[in-house]
Symmetry: C2
Subunit: 165 residues, 2 copies
DNA sequence: AAAATATATCTCGACGTCGAGATACTTGCC
DNA sequence: GGCAAGTATCTCGACGTCGAGATATATTTT
């Protein structure tokens, strides 16, 4: 099946036959697919009354395991947002009583963000919904193909996730 | 090489062994990689004095071929933003004299957005820079692997790009 | 040919993100 | 111990996006 990137690449080959646009075959698809996924996730989470950004924060805490707490800094590296954004997110989640802020006992500069019981329920509930939706999207591929795809993507994300930047 | 998604998946398997989180192996990597790419692109374009969103619009017009014009609606489907956003983008690009708005002669509701000579130069210049950067990221993979990866991604983007939604 | 429906674009207020700088505490070095 | 450099978080103004509604024109229906 042809997609928008096939059309995009064909257009470049016509307009700029001097350039090798092969990299776009992979990376433009990644960007566009991510955008489609954002939209789809927004719809799925609306049923649970959550925004995608709320899901990202709540599930990062949920994954940490009991007592479901992390520093804002740890949340930054997991969610790939800036510090100002995270402060704002925590404020809003605290106002909805899905998380609470505690002083870090081992570092007085620091803070710990902890999931409330309510927040934990939301996290569990929304994860199940997300997985159902993602399974439908991935039904296009066989199990072996999904594994292959995951492996190839890991080679690209690895360098980003492992530099200190 | 392990990445953040490997850690994420391992954490879920520990916390929620009852759930099958295999879909995350693919789709979380897509979302995270897209976010890394956004950041990298922002840096690359800054050298040319462009924002990523400006690149997206200018190159869509450039690809259309002479006379380098498209309707706002056509730009919407290519860039995956909403109509209000596109109006705003065109306004700002017009103020910088990279594009101009013309009435559509065949539909008086419509408008055509056309690249100026200046805008065309910017588009060409920034595309070359982007490709250089993307080639570096993709150097992790062999030519055959890149082709394989592009093919698998196409199976996922195809359904999104071909529904009338 | 009038009415109803559909389409293309724009308007505008609400919202989330960014990012540079500020603050407060900690760590390493002399 | 005291000072310099480093680190964690927060503050806040600027900016871009969203999305529902408004407007104008096209197309279809009766």
């Amino acid at each position: 099946m042809e997609d928008e990137v096939d059309r995009l690449v064909a257009a470049w080959r016509r307009e700029r036959p001097d350039l090798d646009v092969e990299p776009l075959e992979v990376l433009s698809r990644v960007s566009r697919l991510a955008r489609h996924l954002d939209r789809a996730r927004r719809l799925a989470f609306a049923e649970v009354g959550l925004e995608p950004w709320e899901f990202d924060v709540l599930t990062a805490l949920r994954r940490a395991g009991a007592p479901y707490q992390l520093s804002p800094g740890a949340l930054l590296t997991q969610t790939l947002v800036t510090s100002g954004t995270m402060t704002n997110r925590i404020d809003r989640l605290a106002k909805k009583e899905l998380v609470e802020r505690l002083p870090d006992p081992s570092d007085r500069r620091g803070v710990l963000v902890r999931l409330t019981a309510n927040g934990r329920d939301k996290a569990d509930e929304s994860l199940a919904g997300l997985l159902t939706q993602e399974r439908a999207i991935l039904a296009e591929l066989s199990r072996a193909q999904r594994h292959e795809l995951a492996g190839l993507l890991r080679r690209l994300t690895g360098p980003f996730d492992n530099v200190p930047s």
